[in-house]
Symmetry: C2
Amino acid sequence: MTRLTLDISMSLDGFVAGPNPTLEEPLGQGGEGLHEWVVALASWRERHGLTGGETNADSEVLEEVVRSNGATVMGRRMFSGGEGPWADDPNADGWWGDEPPFRHPVFVLTHHAREPVTEQGGTTFTFVTDGIEAALEQARAAAGDKDVAVAGGASVAQQYLEAGLLDELQIHIVPVLLGGGVRLFDRLGSDPIELEAIRVIASTAVTHLKARVVRGAISP
Amino acid sequence: MTRLTLDISMSLDGFVAGPNPTLEEPLGQGGEGLHEWVVALASWRERHGLTGGETNADSEVLEEVVRSNGATVMGRRMFSGGEGPWADDPNADGWWGDEPPFRHPVFVLTHHAREPVTEQGGTTFTFVTDGIEAALEQARAAAGDKDVAVAGGASVAQQYLEAGLLDELQIHIVPVLLGGGVRLFDRLGSDPIELEAIRVIASTAVTHLKARVVRGAISP
């Protein structure tokens, strides 16, 4: 069975987005700074139709992530920033335009049913209304022998972690203090969740900490 | 002028102590796990009157910290775990016995005046009732040409950071999720605090992230 993994950039004070998100600044105040390391990479820029950029140890980390994932699960808010009926969502087509960078099937958790959308470049968006386990099941079937990625946001990541469904996480810790926003690890209850660190690749720009989840909040 | 530095172990989810602290388990549930990396070191064990232990890259980090600090500031709760009048504090002499490992002047922030205490091995405890700036001033005078360390807890560290008085921090990130307890970075307001990462030394046991505070929450 494919693994469920989470790759996400987090500030040193634990936020994956800054305060006061808007359509213009979906990651909130200071939130863009969390992704400077990735936006600087040649491989990321190429996938997003941009030129230039760097190739370094961070590139290898990113390439590994892209290579290993065959499907993605994400929350509605990560997809569009909105909530409620799709007809009322000003960003109902998502953030990524006609050729999203995923290039594989993406399953969007939502309370509002919607027909699937096929984009250019291999990305499909399927809207799942019956919960995180159903979304994971569909994503696993779509991923073949590759892994399934939880793209975020924090709430969806927490739900998979708390349910004991997350196998591995790689946190990209960025040395900035956002002071507020969306915490990645919140409302996890008070039971420690044991991790086994597998690998750490670090520079002053970003620390990639990869760990296996040994025990979820719900004991087996 | 000497610098004010903070060296503290933090879980990946941002806690410096677990939930439900007691006199027997002052760091709360799971909190001891944050210091396993340091307790395993030969140099730490020697300072605490114990034998054995390891010498590795973490030892050099610890030695550097010990070498550079000439005085320490800490909160009352870190000193004894208590609050209120000293006569009512069951741990009024602190956690460290007759020969505390600091071996330099320590300034304890408290609302309750008390005569200084001189311990064996060079540690003195001076109790400061007139706030964080007064404590820092006394500690600077005592540190000579060395640095002053904020030992903790989280509340005192936050106060120095928010006041723009902290020059440098080194967070020892331990790959464990405590799920609750005392957050290091909390109540910082919603203004990002800019850091400049200086050095990262990482293993799967602990990541030492050292950064200069470029701008405090209070602009100059």
